[in-house]
């Protein structure tokens, strides 16, 4: 009628609130959420806060084999039912809300090891029914690990272990940059298990500190860590990993995490007021990342973390 319609490629860029609702609704089908990064680095914390603000509960959490702050925050917010992560710690101290919730029986924390999680993600990513594991003997983790089975090796008959596919319904990743189509570029030295998770999951939502022009990707394609093919939606969020690090852009905010952990310890001892105020101030009240940045101390505060990231 008005001439031929010109088809254009769809950008994967989405607003934070829409991304959170997309994740929340998907997790209502199946509550398996997986988080990229490792301990205090490259964690998609802005996406986690947005999901908590949108309302999530009964989550089953997966991650690369080590996690801390964000898992503890989700537990503090009452969103978690089961944890399938081998190591849960703030590294220099224990995770207070994780501890409390597991000790009180409110959250089930399974005993797992790194190979179970990585092997399960590999099976899912590769489309095979299980991944063999032949590097564990004698640990009590084997007696309790719900994801492992003992099998006979089809070639030698030897007893080994197998883990079935781990297929997260939603995976959140954080990368330093991407183009508008969702080609992610991790500029950090470590890429953790992010590439594997992207290939293992039903839905991948990524946050990036900044979106770069298409040419940046096209000029250096081997630098793309996660091709857009695996990414469903992407949100541009400056400081989207805070209080964890997004190297080389900014370091982890140890002071913030320590203060949070102190509030968690107070809650363990019976005084939840500080922890509730923390969650209100950082999770439920900010309407945008700009509000969040103001809540944590503003641009000058973040400039310090940027300087720390360069201190090698």
């Amino acid at each position: 009628m008005d001439g031929q319609r010109i088809l254009t490629r769809d950008s994967k860029v989405m607003g934070m609130e829409d991304a959170a609702l997309l994740a929340r609704d998907a997790l209502r089908d199946r509550p398996e959420l997986c988080l990229g990064g490792l301990f205090k680095q490259g964690r998609p914390v802005a996406l986690v806060r947005a999901l908590l603000a949108a309302g999530a509960d009964g989550l089953h959490l997966y991650s690369s084999p080590g996690a801390g702050y964000d898992i503890d925050l989700m537990i503090a917010a009452g969103a978690v039912e089961q944890v399938f992560i081998p190591g849960v710690t703030l590294e220099n101290r224990l995770c207070p809300n994780f501890r409390s919730a597991v000790e009180a029986g409110r959250v089930t924390a399974h005993a797992l090891d790194a190979l179970t999680v990585v092997g399960g993600l590999m099976a899912s990513a590769h489309g095979v029914p299980f991944q063999p594991i032949d590097a564990l003997r004698g640990s009590d983790v084997l007696k309790h690990n719900p994801l492992l089975r003992e099998i006979g090796c089809p070639f030698t008959g030897r007893r080994i272990h197998a883990v079935g596919p781990i297929r997260p319904r939603v995976t959140f990743l954080h990368a330093q940059e991407a183009d508008r189509w969702g080609n992610l570029r991790h500029l950090s030295t470590m890429v953790y298990a992010d590439q594997l998770m992207a290939r293992a999951s039903d839905m991948v939502i990524a946050s990036v500190d900044r979106i770069v022009p298409d040419e940046v990707v096209l000029d250096d394609p081997s630098r793309v860590t996660v091709p857009a093919h695996y990414v469903d939606a992407m949100v541009e969020v400056p400081y989207g990993a805070h209080p964890t690090a997004s190297f080389p852009n900014y370091a982890m905010d140890e002071e913030h995490i320590e203060a949070y952990a102190d509030l968690g310890d107070a809650a363990r001892a019976g005084d939840r007021a500080g922890l509730e105020a923390y969650i209100a101030r950082h999770v439920t009240e900010p309407k945008s990342q700009d509000d969040y940045i103001v809540a944590i101390g503003g641009a000058r505060y973040l400039a310090r973390l940027e300087a720390e990231a360069q201190d090698r």
């Binding site: 992560i85 590294e91 501890r99 590097a135 004698g138 983790v141 953790y192 080389p248 990231a309």
Partner: protein, 255 residues
């Protein structure tokens, strides 16, 4: 100069002396002492020792970091890998690795999961552990907690996260543990090893400033102390100089 060595510096020196040139190993989760030991070994006698198996090769940190899982602690490194390659390293194994936990027992078993109660109704829930496989596939490992008390050295751990020698040679064989397992236990007070027949832990030497009786008092099981327990060989002037001037430039091991 040697007399002024801190307990952590003494630990580093004991561990460094046991690492050989050309070996491949990694530091584990609590990395301060192990990374210093690896760096000291490379400076003193093992220039071809390769650090690998934890998603990076041969990091060159500008100072000592408590955790190696920090891009700044890697400083520059020769190569970066991911968890996909970690899977392979875990099966191939390393020459050496380091572990420590909430509890350690008389057979070198390590607990990081819970103290008291059960796994799903724990009195105290610990952090768990990310990668367990190196206890099983690596040639040997070292146990090196930075605290040595009757609370973290107990007769029997409440949960075996990382098996040492289980309950001895028979149990180890039955479980299919074919490697050496824990070789030494190095703490701020002493060095322990394992009886060749029973695989039970025993006192090997005490660091300067400690007596065998004191070490026993801070241990929750019998250390089979002989009459002639020697003093741990203190750091040489050269070891201490290299450690302080080239590795621990910020004095983290003396803090």
């Amino acid at each position: 100069m040697s007399a002024a060595a801190s307990p952590l510096e003494q630990m580093v020196v004991v561990l460094a002396r046991d690492l050989a040139d050309g070996e491949l190993g990694a530091a584990g989760a609590a990395a301060l002492v192990p990374m210093a030991a690896i760096a000291l070994a490379r400076e003193m006698h093992a220039p071809n020792l390769t650090v690998g198996g934890e998603m990076f090769f041969n990091p060159q940190p500008g100072r000592l970091y408590p955790s190696m899982l920090d891009d700044r602690a890697l400083g520059r490194c020769e190569a970066a890998e991911t968890f996909i390659e970690l899977f392979g390293h875990s099966h191939h194994g390393l020459d050496f690795f380091f572990h420590s936990g909430l509890q350690h027992d008389a057979y070198g078993n390590i607990n990081l999961h819970h103290v008291g109660g059960t796994l799903h109704a724990p009195k105290m829930r610990g952090p768990g552990a990310a990668n367990l496989s190196y206890y099983h596939t690596s040639t040997r490992f070292y146990i090196c907690p930075t605290v040595h008390s009757a609370r973290n050295f107990v007769e029997k751990v409440d949960f075996i996260t990382i098996p040492g020698h289980l309950s001895g040679p028979e149990a180890k064989r039955t479980a299919g543990l074919t490697k050496e397992g824990p070789r030494f236990v190095v703490t701020p007070r002493a060095v322990m090893d394992f009886d060749a027949i029973t695989l039970r832990m025993r006192l090997r030497s005490v660091h300067a400033g400690n007596t065998p009786e004191e070490v026993q008092r801070h241990t929750g099981f019998d250390l089979a102390i002989r009459d002639d327990v020697p003093q741990t060989r203190p750091p040489t002037e050269e070891e201490l100089r290299v450690l302080r001037e080239r590795i621990d430039t910020s004095g983290a091991l003396r803090a």
